[in-house]
Amino acid sequence: MCRRRAGLLDGTGKGVREVDFDFTEDQVKFREKAREFAEREFTPELARMFDREEKYPDEIRKKAHAEKVIDYSDPWKVLIAIEELCRQDAGLGISATVPYFGEEVIMLFGSDHLKEKYLNPVNEGRSMMGLAVTEPGGGSDVAGLKTTARKEGKNYIINGAKMFITSGSIADFFVMLVRTSEEEKRHHGLSAFVVESGFPGFKANKLKGKLGVRATDTAELELNNVVVPEENLIGEEGKGFYYIMTFFNISRIFVAGQGIGIAQGAFDRAISILKRKGREYYEKEDIQFAIADMATQLQAARLITYKAASYLFNFKPDPTVTSMAKKYAAETAVFVAEKALEITGVDGISSDLERFYRDAKILEIWEGTSEVEKLIISRNIVKEAQ
């Protein structure tokens, strides 16, 4: 065992819960493997090219799969891989890990038929999936979504639109949240389906010109009388909102991992630029203080993320801590990338660091904006205090 115990005490007032962050020898080796893969495959030239051309790096996805860089047998390894890949480049890193995005919804709530038909090909690297929740009219207010599914015989007919869907124009299918009942309370009327991109009436329009993570594919989906067989309903009708929220309580930990990765990557680059500039430059106190602030915040983000992860991976998820981790790691990525540019100046802004600054900002938006995370955190804490 490699001892990396943080030994933090729980400060949420729910009693003391120690966090066990021990990484096994195997996990430590895996981190080295993921880092080696990223350094080898995500060359600065490739990262720049995919960013410039806004192209999805399918070859990299295949290689990452073939080399088992994403290993779902151990969730810590998934988190470690996300960190290490994003540390090298967020656009390519997220692209390599995103083919499985939404998988947990089917894994936890889907029928055996859905798991076999849809998840096996994804896990074998033959197919890609996505998660389609956000709509043109809103993302934060999930319960307010408008896309409908109407039951007709043994099928559901879906009409509406989805917005900003990652892998939207390249994935083979999506876990999609839609409204199956107008009568039920807003979130009770929602259900989740597996919708194939090959179903007639499905159309994806790729969105170009993102600020960052430009290697990832993002699209708007049009759903025009899309016929979905009833067996593609995930779990029970009317339970979709609950399934998706459960999923977000898992996926937000991985978004926090993206944050740690981007922050660490920006930090590494800043330090190496400073060292190139020489002692004269980096020994000035202004720079030293900035380095200390960046390193401290990064360390804190890492700890809160591992804390949230340790709860979840031990089957005792704590959504409040998860939201704290997601929010804090996202803010840390933005903060560290900003500081990195500040202290490296012209050298930094004309280097790959500028991409980290652009990439980092997405973390405060997707899978729950920072404002939504704050609402979740404070509502939970106040509720638990009563």
Binding site: R48, D51, T134, G137, G138, G139, S140, D141, G144, M163, F164, L207, G209, K210, L211, G212, R276, K277, G278, Y281, K284, E285, D286, E338, L341, E342, T344, G345, V346, D347, G348, I349, S350, S351, D352, E354, R355, Y357, R358, K361, I362, E364, I365, W366, T369, S370, E371
Partner: protein
């Protein structure tokens, strides 16, 4: 400037922007500044706003020029930066060197000039590697803003040189001011004209130092427009059945920024405070405001089409390119303490 002339000029510039800049704003970001835009702004006298009329300049006062920068930065910070580069940097150096023929070319918009300013920035460690002999220059000048310019002014061993054209550009990733681009410029046996024997670096640095209020005017434009966009959006975008403006954090933050914008406007146009005091406030405000403006737009803010993300990129880039740099802060500290301070 009195309030009436301020309003009149403002309407004029706004009309120019609505007609000529706004429709091109996205194209400028993606493809660079179109030549005909510099011709049109030349016809308005914007390209050489503050230069002496005897050498092709428009001879406008500083307040008018600041207003042009502020209003154009609202539509396209790249275009405003182009104007600043031509006016505050190039024309001032060319004027000091008696090169009125080139100022006339800039005035018409037929030709553009850039100055190697970033290699003199304290945070740059790539001064390039050029040699000059027999009136010819060979080597690379690094991190040049608007590298595709017709003329390039640079300093070498403290003398100031002017080169026409170039022999290749290595495009660098540009976080901001994408309409101008950033690149390493190669020069091979290219004829150069020495336009000043000595004091080249000092002259360039002085022109930058004297542009503090211009930088603040651009920051003001970026702040104002991005916050206005966020305010407009927050009136119409609904979440949980309510417009965003109904939520305290949204309304309070945006209103707070609006108040700070007005305060900055007063400082830029009407206060006698020195530029050194205004610039840090301005660039800091622009960075904070544009970040919130993007965030209020949610996912849409992350897309170029919505036109708000460029302010986020450009405000950060403005503060890196033009400070406040450490030397600005040292000047400020020296003034505050009355002696050398902030050196460790």
């Amino acid at each position: 400037m009195d309030q009436d002339s301020y309003r009149m000029l403002r309407e004029n510039v706004d009309e120019f922007c609505t007609r000529n800049v706004e429709p091109l704003a996205l194209r400028i970001e993606r493809e660079g500044m179109p030549r005909d835009l510099s011709a049109k702004s030349g016809a308005q006298g914007f390209n050489t706003a503050t230069a002496d009329p005897a050498s092709g300049g428009s001879g406008l006062d500083r307040e008018s020029y600041l207003l042009i920068l502020e209003r154009t930065a609202r539509s396209s910070p790249s275009f405003a930066m182009y104007l600043m580069l031509q006016n505050s940097i190039a024309c001032r150096i060319l004027g000091a060197s008696g090169k009125s023929d080139i100022i006339r070319e800039i005035a018409s918009g037929n030709k553009t000039t850039t100055v190697d300013i970033l290699s003199l920035n304290e945070s740059s460690s790539s001064p390039g590697n050029i040699t000059i002999s027999d009136g010819k220059v060979t080597g690379t000048i690094r991190t040049v803003i608007l590298p595709s310019s017709d003329y390039l002014i640079f300093q070498h061993q403290d003398a100031l040189y002017l080169a026409k054209g170039n022999d290749g550009i290595e495009i660098l990733p540009a976080l901001g001011f994408r309409g101008l681009g950033l690149g390493n410029v190669s020069l091979k046996e290219r004829p150069v004209e020495k336009i000043a024997e000595s004091g080249g670096a000092a002259l360039i640095q002085e022109t930058i130092r004297n542009s503090g209020r211009e930088v603040a005017a651009m920051a003001l434009g970026m702040t104002g427009r991005s916050i206005d966009m966020a305010i407009d959006y927050s009136r119409v975008r609904k979440t949980f059945g309510r417009p965003l403006k109904d939520y305290e954090p949204v309304a309070f933050q945006l209103s707070g920024f609006k108040a700070q914008e007005e305060h900055l406007r007063t400082m830029v146009f009407f206060s006698t405070a020195r530029d050194e005091y205004i610039k840090p406030l301005a660039t800091d405000l622009a960075r904070r405001a544009t970040k919130v403006a993007l965030q209020v737009h949610g996912g849409y803010g992350y897309l170029e089409d919505f036109g708000v993300e460029k302010f986020y990129r450009d405000s950060m880039t403005l503060s890196i390119y033009f400070g406040p740099s450490k030397s600005d802060m040292r000047v400020l500290s020296r003034e505050v303490y009355g002696e050398e301070s902030g050196v460790i």
